[in-house]
Structure formats: C-alpha cells, structure tokens
Amino acid sequence: MKHIITIAKNTLRETIRDRVLLSALFSSIVVILVTLFIGSISLDQSTRIIVNFSITAIYALQIFVAIFIGSMLIYKEIERKTFYLILPKPIHRGAIIIGKCLGLTATTILVTFFSTVVLLLVLFIKGETSYIGPILVSVFYSTLESILLILISLFFSSVTSPIMASVATIAFFFIGHASSIMQRIFMTTESVILREGMRVVYYTFPNLEKFNIRNEVVYGALPSLTITLTTIAYALVYAVFLLFITNAVFKKKDF
C-alpha cells in the first residue's frame, strides 16, 4: 500500500507540472466564464446554459486528462527509461499500475475541483444555488467515468505508442457512449450474427452512458440511491477487471 501511495504521489507531482494539463484547465475555466456571455443571448435560459456548458467543460477536461495524459503516462517512462530505476526495486509491477492510476485520478480530481469551484462561484454570484447538489453528483459520476478511461488508456499506453493508445481510448469512449445504438440494433435487427455481436459488445464494453446524468442536472433530478450504488459497483468491478488485465500485460512486459 505504501508503495502504491509513493508511486501515486510521484505521478501526481509529475502530471500537475504538465503544461498541456494546465492549458486544458485554463481553457475549461475560460469556457465556464464565457458561458456568462452565451447565457445572455439565450433568452432567459442563462442559468441552464451556464450549468450545461460548464459541466460539459468540466467533463471534457476530465476526458482530456484521462485520454491524452493517461496515454503518455507509461509510454513516457519507458521511452525516457525512468522505469529502469523503479522496476528493479522491491515493488510489484501491479502496484506501479495501481499507483499510476491513483496518481492520475488524483490529478483529475484536483483539476475537477478547481473548475467546479469556479462554476459554483459563478452560480453563487448569479444567486442560483439550487443546482449545487445535482452538479456535484454529476461531477462525481463523470469522475467515475474518467477513472475507467484512465485505466483503459493506461492499458493501451503499456502496449503501444501514445498516438495509438489515444486513438484506442477514444474508440472505447465512443463505443461506451453508443450503448443506445447497440441496444436498438440487437433489439430490432433480424440478422442473428449482428444481434448477438452487438449484444456481446453491449455487455462487455464499458457502458459509459451510465455515468452521464448531465441532462438531468438542470432539472434538479438526482438518481436514486439504488442506481447510484449500482453505478459505483459497476465502476468498481470494471476498474478491477481493467487493472487485472493491465497488470497481466505489464507483468510480462520486457523493457
């Protein structure tokens, strides 16, 4: 556990210095502030616009961190050979993967925190405090989604180049959000192969739409406790599954 924390701390230290990350955070904050102006041309729907655009900006920031910074994480260590100093140490390779995941998750939470604070300040200034609860729940859900994407990009980062790892993770992102298409296909198609194929994809690929409650935030609707617990359990189980296969690949890897 101590080693995992050490690696996580080091990863956090490394990633928060990344200028790309700081630019992305800055852009996200700018978007949140710009929504004040977009809101003014939305004909009395300014609060809705501010909330929707801002939580989407925060979400986009989380996805960016997961996909682009995650895909560089392992690869950078291999390329620069900084791994040569860590791997021979008394630390399980699995602990390195978990540590990296935790570190990048901590980075995601940190940038999410800053951008969410800006959003809440904007809403506070506008006198709209009724959305705080739904916003926080939505951000929590999207953080769970970003953790899964971090693990997916870590897996690909350990087997291929950063570009291919990003492409593969983006593909998983789209597949994960296309669950409604897949459902529609396997419920309506007559082709057995297509139906069963889609069913397999639907059940095995991560269903990222589960973590999307952004549509309900502006209506103040919160998911029930049962749904929330089920979603957290799904994220946990899938995360363990991803950690397992990443560890299996990473353990056998030659450097």
Binding site: N10, T82, Y84, L85, I86, L87, P88, K89, H92, D254
Partner: protein
C-alpha cells in the same frame, strides 16, 4: 556458494524471434566478488544485465540470485541497480529523488541514509538542486547513489564510469572497491578495460551474445600484451571462425 547463477540463458525478442541477442550463456558468480562483463557495443551486455535485475525475462534458461528469481521482492530489497546513462524525473531535486527511492525500500532512517549516501557519492552540495541542472558526472553519481542507498548485498552496474572525467572515474572506482571490501557482490558491465583490470576479480568476454571466455584478468591476459590485446584478439578470432567481417589492421 554462488551469489548469481545463470544457466543456459538465451534471449530473443518477439519482433525478431530468430535473432538471439544472448545465446545460451552460463555464469556462476561468487559471493563478495567483483565480476566484469566486457564486450563491444551490441554484444548483449545490457540485455544480460536487464534479465538479471528483472527488467526482461530470458526466452530460455534460468537465472537465480541467492537462489531466488530476479522478480522476487525479497531479493530486490537486497539488490541495487544502476542502468546505463540513468534517467531521472527532472523536476525533482537529488534529495527528493532519493527520498522517493528510499520509500520504495521502506528505509526507516530516511534522512540520515540519504545524507550518508549523497556524501558517499560527493553530491551532498547539490542535494537541493533540480536534477535538470546536474552535469553528466553528477547524474552518474546520483545513479550510483540510488543503487546503493539500500546497502545492497548484490549490485549491478551498467557502464558506471561512462562519460566521467578521470577524477570522477577514480572516485567511483574507490566507491566500488569500498563496497567490495564490505562483501558486496558486484556485477559490472563495461567496455573500458583499464578499469576492469583494476577492480574485477573475474571477467567474462562476450561478443554477439556468446561468452567467449571467463577468468581472472591476469589469466586472460596471459600470452597477450594486456587485457585489451587479449580482448581484441579473442573477438577477432571468434568472428573469423563465424565468418564475420573483420576490421583490418587490428
């Protein structure tokens, strides 16, 4: 009792499985001795040392260090490794990096140990400077520092004197000899033969993945002008036997 036992180890990479980087090598290295692994560039020295520290795995054969596999975390606590031209996290200071390494070894008296190690490699004055400001020599010293911070019983050094000026090399050699006197088993990869004669008890010459000969420097030099002459001649002869192209005039 042998500290390191390498039995019939071969290594090839999945991309080119027909090309063997290391071909069926066997070595036994005694406790407390300094073993030199010498060979030209691309001979397979680094590939071998990587297998010894668990960075890669042999395609065939077995490696035992103190009767344990190189991946064993219990063994890794007693092991030190300095890679060739070590790379660090540039944003850390020397002290912070050693602190990070020390936490991986679960070292308790961290501050004292770090100070002591930095003093040993003559980097105490630069402990609070960012690693990105370090010179080549300082980076080599820091690489050695992270390898010895846990007071290892077995130490693997890949080209430890690479890029150092004569003064730096003398200091590193002094540290190696000091460790030897404490009973540390040391495995050194190098192609600088003058240093090998000074510090190594046993030497193996490797070329194109094959071990040509193993023995003490004095024994290997018998019949030749010096160890360098022995090294060059043996390699040339072996390449002739294999039908490889020779470098004229040597």
């Amino acid at each position: 009792m042998y500290s390191i036992e390498i039995k019939n180890v071969s290594k090839s990479y999945p991309k080119d499985p027909e090309i063997q980087i290391v071909k069926n090598i066997s070595l036994s290295i005694k406790h407390g001795s300094v073993f030199g692994f010498i060979g030209p560039n691309g001979a397979g020295k680094t590939s071998t040392i990587k297998m010894l520290v668990g960075l890669s795995h042999p395609t065939e054969g077995s490696i035992k260090i103190d009767n344990k596999s190189p991946d064993d975390p219990v063994l890794q606590k007693k092991l030190g490794f300095m890679p060739e031209s070590p790379a660090f996290y540039q944003y850390l200071t020397g002290y912070e990096f050693l602190e990070f390494v020390a936490s991986l070894f679960d070292i308790k008296d961290t501050d004292e140990r770090i100070e002591k190690t930095l003093k040993e490699v003559d980097l105490l004055h630069a402990k609070d400077k960012r690693i990105r400001t370090y010179s080549k020599g300082m980076l080599q010293r820091l690489g050695l520092a992270q390898a010895i911070i846990n007071n290892p019983d077995i130490l693997f050094l890949d080209e430890p004197l690479d890029g150092l000026d004569p003064l730096g090399r003398a200091e590193i050699k002094k540290i190696i000899l000091n460790l030897k006197s404490k009973g540390t088993t040391i495995f050194i990869n190098t192609h600088i033969l003058g240093d090998v004669e000074e510090i190594c008890d046993t030497v193996s010459i490797i070329d194109k993945g094959e071990i040509l000969v193993t023995g003490s420097p004095s024994v290997l030099s018998q019949g030749y002008k010096d160890l360098e002459d022995a090294f060059v001649t043996m390699i040339q002869n072996r390449r002739k036997e294999r039908g490889d192209i020779l470098i004229e005039g040597h």
